[in-house]
């Protein structure tokens, strides 16, 4: 399913590469002992190192390095046992030192690959070019005062992983799938919370267009896009703009642009003259970062099961469809919930209930899996009551709704409301007789060949039994009764 833009002579293909900035989960900052926690009163999570005071020296945080290594391993990437830090020089009010400590020539993680899946079920591999560690900048607030900008350095110096992809994506959908997959992997690893609204994960999107078979044309970079939806919209808008420029006989300039979601368009941010002239050089305050192969192996041994592996296991171990397995592993909490429900019961039934009834209930109540109104344990008990024939599937839905409302255990609801399934054939036969007697007209129609009415009778019998009849037994009783003459 290829995504092409219409052109005057030939269709245009869009080429996309992404740089994702992911804030490292750690207690303290990358090069200082100040807290890396989000929020706080302005400038209270700041050390003199972060504020760029003279003579202050950076000392690297081991956990930030470990997080970068874990992430690299999760991206199936090469880990560079020796890497280096460089200074990226630019002036901005929220960058006190006048440079960002980053890794330019020798990043800690080299090339890797992740697999994305598209709506039609097809998969694609997207190359990872590299991952490097760098510092975040502070925050500027421009709307607090008429003539002044306010600066808060709480975020300055927090560890970031910049994850750079190859220009391997060819549609907004692929870019969206890539960001979602990356976010899932980071969350599983516990290396970044992936929270795009709070800015702990944000994307720079590189877009160019070309006719199929051509070499790459000039790209533009759209900075700081902070949701999956905006990533996709920004690509669409920017690709359209570039096609217009080329078709009007112009050329696309390499530049940094900003996506304006309200207007659905991108606009130029910086003049080309200043862009990308960061005069990188090795940071003389920092020796090479050398890590031990044994330590990397330890970190690898401590990694959790990642989404792709978990999905394959769900398919083989539980016999559930690949699609359902994909839905269940998208969030680790959902996968854990599912495994608790499935344990010792019917895993396929569990998959249907978690992705169906449970998700619907969460949507309706505005809750997440983490604060689900029905616990995984309670849901397992409910499904257990179905499997052992205590209640039928129809009644189970009602019990589940009541569990959502009240939080009461399923067995208690079944007992209190007398919902046990009726398997007593005498009672079922009596209900069948009553329905046939009350619907003599329908019975006559059935006898004259209107077979479809069988379903009507089943429904009436179940209704007469308050929904509690065993469906198989009701079917059987009706079939036998109708086979006999009046």
């Amino acid at each position: 399913m290829s995504y092409l833009l219409e052109g005057r002579d030939a269709p245009w293909e869009v080429v996309i590469g992404l740089e994702v900035h992911a804030q490292v989960i750690s207690q303290s900052k990358l090069f200082s002992g100040a807290s890396a926690t989000y929020g706080g009163e302005p400038n209270t999570h700041v050390s003199l190192v972060d504020a760029g005071f003279p003579g202050m020296l950076p000392v690297i945080n081991r956990e930030c390095v470990a997080q970068a290594v874990r992430t690299g391993l999760g991206l199936n990437a090469r880990i560079n046992l020796e890497s280096r830090f460089d200074r990226k020089n630019y002036f901005y009010a929220d960058l006190p030192t006048g440079y960002q400590i980053s890794q330019f020539a020798q990043p800690i993680v080299g090339s890797g690959v992740i697999e994305i899946e598209l709506a039609d079920g097809s998969t694609r591999e997207i190359g990872i070019t590299r991952l490097h560690l760098e510092q975040d900048a502070g925050k500027s607030l421009h709307d607090q005062h008429q003539t002044q900008s306010f600066i808060d350095l709480n975020r300055a110096g927090v560890g970031l992983m910049e994850i750079v992809s190859e220009p391997d994506m060819r549609s907004p959908e692929e870019a969206g799938a890539y960001v979602r997959k990356l976010r899932t992997i980071l969350r599983y690893l516990g290396t970044c919370d992936g929270n795009m609204e709070e800015g702990s994960m944000r994307a720079d999107v590189n877009v160019s267009v070309r006719h199929s078979g051509e070499p790459f044309r000039t790209r533009c970079e759209i900075k700081n896009v902070n949701s999956v939806r905006y990533v996709m919209q920004a690509i669409e808008a920017e690709a359209r703009r570039q096609v217009q420029v080329w078709e009007a006989g112009g050329t696309v300039d390499q530049e940094t642009r900003l996506f304006d979601p309200a207007r659905g368009e991108t606009r130029s941010l910086r003049s080309k003259e200043d862009a990308h002239d960061y005069r990188y050089f090795p940071d003389p305050d920092l020796l090479p970062l050398v890590i031990d192969e044994g330590w990397v192996a330890d970190l690898k041994a401590g990694l959790p099961e990642l989404p792709d592996a978990k999905r394959s296991r769900f398919v083989s171990e539980y016999g559930i469809p690949r699609y359902d397995a994909g839905v269940l592993v998208a969030e680790q909490a959902t996968a854990d919930f599912y495994e608790t429900v499935a344990a010792g019961g019917d895993p396929r039934l569990a998959a249907n209930w978690v992705t169906g009834d449970l998700f619907a209930a969460l949507n309706r109540t505005g809750r997440t899996i983490a604060d689900s109104p029905v616990s995984a344990q309670a849901m397992r008990e409910l499904l257990g009551l179905m499997v052992d024939q205590t209640i039928n599937g129809r009644i189970a839905k009602d019990v589940f709704e009541e569990m959502v409302e009240t939080g009461e255990p399923p067995a208690a609801i079944v007992e209190r409301r007398g919902l046990r399934q009726v398997t007593d054939t005498g009672a079922i036969d009596a209900a069948v007789e009553a329905v046939l007697a009350a619907n003599a007209d329908k019975l006559a129609e059935y006898r004259s060949g209107k077979d479809k009415l069988f379903g009507f009778f089943v429904g009436q019998v179940m209704k007469g039994m308050g929904g509690k009849g065993n469906p198989a037994l009701v079917n059987e009783a009706l079939r036998q009764r109708l086979a006999r003459s009046p």
Partner: protein, 95 residues
């Protein structure tokens, strides 16, 4: 390698140093003198020698991930050119 006048102006702009057109020729001469001097290093054959950043320790020392600093905004803001509450203030910068 030598710098032309336009590159000198560009470097000054990147470093946020305001220079007059009349100063460009002099700065160009000075910078080219420095570059020429450094370029003597090019005479050394470093084929096969990995880049070296220092001679003391071989590698970075790492610290544990513990919060040991912060919660002292007064010290942090002590050199601020301007402040409002606990914020630094600067002339408005909007892109």
């Amino acid at each position: 390698m030598s710098l032309d006048a336009a590159t000198v102006k560009h470097i000054a702009r990147l470093a946020r140093i305001g220079i007059q057109d009349t100063e460009v020729a002099r700065l160009q001469g000075e910078l080219n003198g420095i570059i020429g001097w450094i370029e003597q290093l090019a005479a050394v054959d470093v084929e096969g020698v990995p880049p070296m950043v220092g001679t003391e320790q071989a590698a970075l020392r790492m610290r544990d991930d513990v919060v040991t600093d912060g919660a002292r905004p007064e010290a942090v803001l002590s050199n601020a050119p301007g402040r409002n509450g606990l914020f630094y203030t600067v002339p408005k910068v909007v892109e």
